[in-house]
């Protein structure tokens, strides 16, 4: 048959095997990829108002530390993750509170207020942030993030707006 344009029996077998094998591979392979990345595609982003403390307990110009945990369902398990930050009071007006997120903007370690250093220090790569969150030293690319929505309740408790994810 060689030389003719007709498909030889052997080539026919090869091509059919290839096509059928490819089809089977795709039918199982594509769902398998989806199966692997599925957790990354889950919609997160639950929202909540979280109380962080009484306004009257927050002293002028002295960062007020707060923390809270959120329970998330990951797979078949409930996992508690902690979050936190510092509320910096500037005046008597609750709306002028500056509420910083203590998650370092470098690689997400938790920063701590240090009175002696007059700044937030990050234990991971020695970053230093000012009281208002500006980068003073170290590798972080931008100032500390802020929780930019907050409100005060009738009982004088500050609540921040928190969005997961």
């Amino acid at each position: 048959m060689s030389g003719s344009h007709e498909l030889s029996r052997r080539d026919f077998i090869k091509v059919t095997t290839g096509i059928i094998g490819g089809l089977i591979g795709a039918v199982v392979g594509l769902p398998a990829v989806y199966y692997l990345i599925d957790p990354a595609l889950q919609a997160g982003g639950k929202e909540a108002w979280i109380p962080i403390g009484k306004f009257e307990d927050m002293q002028l110009d002295k960062p007020y530390s707060f923390s809270f945990t959120r329970v998330q369902v990951n797979g078949w398990e409930r996992t508690a993750s902690s979050f936190g930050g510092y509320a910096v009071r500037k005046s008597d007006k609750p709306e002028e509170l500056l509420i910083l997120n203590s998650r370092c903007t470098h690689l997400a370690c938790t920063v701590n207020w240090n009175e002696a250093a007059n700044g937030y220090l990050c234990p991971c790569h020695d970053a230093k942030f000012s009281k208002e969150g500006e980068v003073l030293d170290g590798p972080p690319p931008r100032p500390l993030d802020v929780y930019d929505e907050h409100r005060i309740t009738e009982d004088g408790i500050i609540e921040i707006f928190f969005k997961e994810g």
Binding site: A32, Y35, L36, G75, W76
Partner: protein, 219 residues
């Protein structure tokens, strides 16, 4: 350019020789029954792949095993498909391996010079059954728990070494976290390793001897 790359590699690896020796061997006129060994091997690879994917979510601990399987079935996209293939593939593999053995028996292909191929084949059957036995416990549901209780209890009735065997299989006198963990280890590492090695020798011998003739009337 692809031709050049191919030729360069072929000179060093010898694709053409490999192809001629592995896939283009002369065969006596045989039948579809002779494809069952390849079918067994295909199922082994399929079980291996789906098994690897299952370990992405499956957790071998009494606290999590059941829930993680439940999650695979209901929580993860196409988890039911991956587990389904692995589940039914396991049964099918035992069946196909067994029929393969029957065909080798009925065509008397186990005779000289293929006795060793047959012996290795027995090892393959036993390890395939071992995969089924160890895998059955992993979902950690009632059926799994009691099937393993019974299975290991049977091993315990062997004279003299029975009690030791039972404890070695369970990792203690009773079914526990240790049992689940060691069955998992056997199921994903030890037995597949042995199985793969045996398949390697099996195939080597088959290539060395070539396929046996389908027996004729006067054989």
């Amino acid at each position: 350019m692809w031709n050049n790359i191919y030729n360069w590699l072929d000179e060093r690896v010898g694709f053409n020789d490999l192809y001629a020796n592995l896939l283009d061997r002369p065969e006596p006129k045989t039948s579809w029954w002779n494809t069952l060994g390849s079918a067994s091997m295909f199922l082994f690879v399929l079980q291996g792949l789906t098994g690897i994917f299952l370990t992405v979510y499956y957790t071998p601990s009494p606290d999590h095993a059941y829930d993680s399987v439940q999650y695979i079935m209901e929580g993860v996209a196409f988890g039911w498909l991956i587990r389904g293939i692995h589940h039914w593939g396991a049964t099918l593999m035992v069946l196909v391996v067994f029929i393969h053995m029957l065909r080798v028996f009925f065509t008397a292909s186990f005779k000289y010079p293929r006795e060793l191929t047959w012996l290795i084949g027995i090892g393959l059957l036993l390890t395939t059954l071992g995969m089924g036995f160890t895998g059955y416990l992993l979902p950690w549901n009632q059926k799994a728990f009691w099937a393993t209780t019974v299975g290991t209890q049977i091993a315990g009735t062997v004279p003299f070494i029975g009690e030791f065997t039972l404890k070695a299989l369970r990792g203690g006198p009773d079914l526990s976290a240790l049992t689940l963990q060691r069955f998992f280890s056997a199921h994903i590492w030890m037995i597949p390793g042995i199985l793969a090695a045996l398949i390697g020798v099996h195939l080597f011998l088959i290539m060395k001897h070539g396929e046996s003739h389908w027996p004729k009337k006067d054989d």
